[in-house]
Symmetry: C2
Subunit: 87 residues, 2 copies
């Protein structure tokens, strides 16, 4: 089963990396970019027998992948195994 | 107009950061994660008058955001402005 956790900075946190990218795009002559923010995307391949993959990934994000003081995360399951019984 | 560029390592490129996360999850007792790969997500806010935002973002990814030797990128437009004439 494939899954994706996207970790982004909270809106109120400054993003100097994004700002550097915005300046870089301007320097390259690419006009029209108002703001840029950079996050991480973590793609995971899970065993099909994992009981509650969303809960597993939320725990993973909470404990390891994201810093909840300054980051938010979103968990997405990209393909569920066939014939999984409803929890 | 909001857009997103996702930059991921090509399949054949080793991902030590992803491997470290996999080990970390195991060490935390979170079982069932087979593999982990880490990429970047760049969220951009574009001016509505940009003529061809997909082309702008593909150029941005090509020239600045991604290293095409070892990375792939995907461009997504999250919301198009209303009433934009077809190109």
């Amino acid at each position: 089963m494939k899954a994706k956790v996207t970790v982004t900075l909270k809106r109120e946190v400054l993003d100097p990396q994004g700002e550097a990218i915005r300046h870089g795009l301007q320097a390259l002559g690419l006009q029209g970019v108002r703001s840029v923010r950079v996050g991480k995307v973590i793609e995971l391949e899970l065993d099909d027998h994992v009981g509650d993959p969303k809960a597993l990934l939320a725990t993973a994000a909470d404990k390891l992948l994201a810093n909840l003081v300054m980051e938010d995360f979103v968990v997405e399951l990209l393909d569920a195994p066939k014939g999984t019984p409803a929890p």
